[in-house]
């Protein structure tokens, strides 16, 4: 495809996005407004992540896309194909071989290393949005570090349910300053956000925001002393590879309510199976 620039966006736009990324890296957890472009895919389908990936990709990069942890879900396939066509970069499904990984809703199980970039697709970047719908108000709350409302919400959860009733997009505090939405990853993934060796970039296209976590940033999931944060997952081993420490998808396998659990990270699961690990449902 030669009608478009490398990685689709024109250089001017990429420069604008890179400036936003650099600002985001300089102020970890702060949401930087950027002039998001209309992309040839719908808003809400990863346009923020796609713009960030387009701005950081170089011809030498190897690119991986996952959605719900899987490389083969339709939208991951679609985004991977988009960059194959517009940037001609190498693509891979192997986590450690990728230099740029675009993700929706998961952090890979395998720890990332220095030199890798993890790009998150973000639907609603504002962690306070569902407590206060007005952008003008929430920006003020961030600048004044006024996060009482969030603590009240979490406290009300505990008094009503006995637990904090947030299981994904669980809010975190970055370097003791900004409360940040980690995108709708399950809270199981939250502990991986902090102290990560890779650069983490978050792109929200429709909401026109970019934010970032530089390597080895302190990220703490909000909690209370007597109700400490707990990363949770289905209490089963993976049916295919037997892993007991990976996040699992639940599948319904017959019409009598039969279920099985498999790793949501397809690359992790396949690598384990190749290494000879076997779950109870594997052939």
């Amino acid at each position: 495809m030669t009608d478009y620039n490398f990685a689709y966006l024109d250089e001017q736009t990429k420069r604008m996005i890179r400036r936003a990324i650099l600002k985001g890296l300089a102020i970890p957890g702060y949401q930087v407004p950027f002039a998001s472009r209309e992309m040839p895919m719908p808003y809400g389908w990863g346009t923020g992540g796609v713009q960030v990936s387009a701005a950081v990709l170089t011809p030498e990069d190897t690119f991986k896309v996952i959605d719900q942890g899987a490389d083969d879900t339709t939208n991951a396939v679609s985004i991977r194909t988009f960059f194959e066509r517009t940037a001609g970069v190498e693509t891979t499904t192997t986590t450690c071989d990728a230099s740029v990984i675009q993700t929706r809703h998961r952090i890979p199980e395998e720890p990332l290393s220095e030199g890798q970039i993890l790009v998150y697709q973000v639907p609603i970047p504002e962690p306070l949005r569902f407590l206060e719908p007005r952008e003008s108000e929430t920006r003020k709350m961030h600048s004044l570090e006024e996060y009482g409302l969030m603590h009240v919400k979490l406290y009300e959860d505990i008094s009503r349910h006995g637990h904090i009733a947030t299981s994904y997009a669980y809010p975190v505090k970055v370097e003791g300053r900004y409360v940040m939405d980690p995108s709708p990853i399950p809270k199981f993934d939250n502990p991986k956000l902090g102290d990560m060796a890779a650069i983490q970039l978050f792109g929200a296209g429709r909401e026109q925001r970019i934010y970032a976590l530089p390597p080895y940033t302190q990220v703490v999931s909000l909690d209370f002393e007597d109700h400490p944060f707990e990363a949770s997952k289905a209490d089963h081993p993976c049916g295919m590879c037997g892993a007991i420490d990976s996040y699992l998808d639940e599948l319904i396998i017959d019409d009598t309510g039969g279920r099985m659990f498999v790793c949501s990270d397809t690359d992790f699961c396949e690598a384990r199976q190749l290494a000879g690990h076997k779950g109870k449902d594997a052939a």
């Binding site: 478009y4 024109d10 407004p33 950027f34 002039a35 472009r37 209309e38 992309m39 040839p40 719908p42 808003y43 809400g44 389908w45 346009t47 959605d67 719900q68 942890g69 083969d72 879900t73 339709t74 939208n75 991951a76 396939v77 679609s78 194909t81 929706r104 809703h105 998961r106 639907p123 007005r134 952008e135 003008s136 349910h161 006995g162 637990h163 009733a165 299981s167 994904y168 997009a169 709708p184 399950p186 809270k187 199981f188 429709r206 026109q208 925001r209 949770s232 997952k233 049916g239 295919m240 996040y247 699992l248 998808d249 639940e250 599948l251 099985m260 949501s264 397809t266 449902d281 052939a283």
Partner: protein
């Protein structure tokens, strides 16, 4: 036995092939041409140009054909194309006072300089299905006459002479560009108008209607509605003066709204403004009503909490490409989030169930 689903790529390719086939429909029926859509579905073309923010009837017609007549999908195609185009510069402001009008009506004065010109309107058609049209589309030539040479003055100017209406604010600073800067509030009027003119027609219509029914009522008279073509001029740096580079059809609506006075200011009518690409009359009137409602603060009116007064609410939800994208994204897999909710609900129910058993035992 569970086998991981592979082959998403082939499924997508096949879906696209099927879509193309469905778009073409029955091969025994003649295919629609772009020119046919442009000429015979021109109001659809106009809407796509207005909300796509790109004045190109042929491309809009192509988008409508490609989108199988789904206008929001067509607008999306135009927007995605538009964003890749290089910017050569900005035109001079267009002079709608010099518009060659096809239609020009005022609801506030029975007669006025320039006259009332109905133009090609549905207004007084009886909405009876014309079965003749199903068989034969030939139409007799409509009567015509030479256009009056004089320019057609704006109605609000007559009121302005008397000081009866607020002065239209004069601003020479270049307006912000919604497509090049992130939207941030509070938004000045130029930015609000930019957002409204490309906003979803249905959304703006609903909001305008709500003001008429009492949610921030600002009783609007259509001072003037005009549709016609205006020249687009652009200053060419090498020449040092502006030259005409083309013509666009616009619909402009100026409303005259309720007045309010104070001890220091005598009562005066106020203005709402709508300007939209193409013949898009419903949209232009709606835009003027919503523009007027959003001006409550500068006009010293009360915020009655009506949706049409709330700039953040209106501006962040008026764009149908943003709205449809986010709405439809919930079709994408959410296995992971749903799984985490499942775990949580099971846990909460388990604990609640234990509590109930305990209570029953006590």
């Amino acid at each position: 036995m569970y086998v991981a689903v592979k082959g998403g790529e082939r499924a997508i390719e096949n879906a696209h092939a099927w879509l193309a086939e469905e778009r073409r429909g029955d091969m025994d029926i003649a295919e629609l041409g772009i020119a046919q859509i442009r000429e015979q579905l021109s109001l659809a073309v106009n809407r796509v140009m207005a909300e796509g923010s790109l004045y190109d009837p042929d491309l809009a017609a192509l988008a409508i054909k490609q989108a199988r007549g789904d206008l929001i999908e067509a607008i999306f195609l135009i927007r995605a194309y538009r964003t890749t185009l290089p910017r050569f510069g900005a035109s001079e402001p267009v002079d709608t006072g010099a518009m060659t009008c096809d239609r020009r009506i005022s609801a506030t004065f029975k007669d006025l300089p320039g006259g009332q010109v109905l133009g090609p309107t549905f207004d007084y058609t009886h909405r009876l299905l014309d079965f003749k049209l199903a068989a034969d589309g030939d139409v007799p030539e409509a009567p015509s006459r030479e256009a009056a040479a004089d320019s057609v003055p704006h109605v609000t100017e007559f009121l302005n002479h008397e000081g009866l209406i607020e002065e239209a604010p004069q601003e020479d600073t270049p307006p912000p560009d919604l497509t090049r800067e992130p939207l941030e509030t509070p938004a000045e009027r130029a930015l609000r108008l930019q957002a409204l003119t490309r906003a979803d027609e249905g959304f703006i219509l609903g909001l305008a209607y709500s003001t008429q029914r009492g949610y921030a009522r600002n009783h609007a008279f259509v001072g003037e509605l005009r549709i016609g073509s205006v020249a687009v001029k652009m200053e060419i740096p090498e020449l040092g003066f502006a030259v005409e580079i083309g013509e666009v059809t616009l619909t402009e609506c100026e409303t005259i709204n309720q007045f309010k006075g104070s001890k220091t200011e005598p009562p005066q009518f106020t203005r709402g403004y709508g300007l939209v690409f193409g013949q898009t009359e419903r949209k232009a009137i709606s835009m003027a009503l919503v523009d007027r409602a959003l001006r409550w603060e500068e006009l010293g009116e009360d915020n009655v909490g009506a949706p049409a007064q709330d700039a953040e609410f209106v501006l962040y939800h008026a764009d149908n490409i943003q709205a449809t994208g986010f709405l439809e994204h919930i079709k994408l897999p959410h296995y992971v989030d749903f799984q985490s909710e499942l775990e949580l609900v099971r846990k909460l129910r388990r604990e609640a169930g234990v509590d109930q058993v305990q209570e029953a035992a006590e």
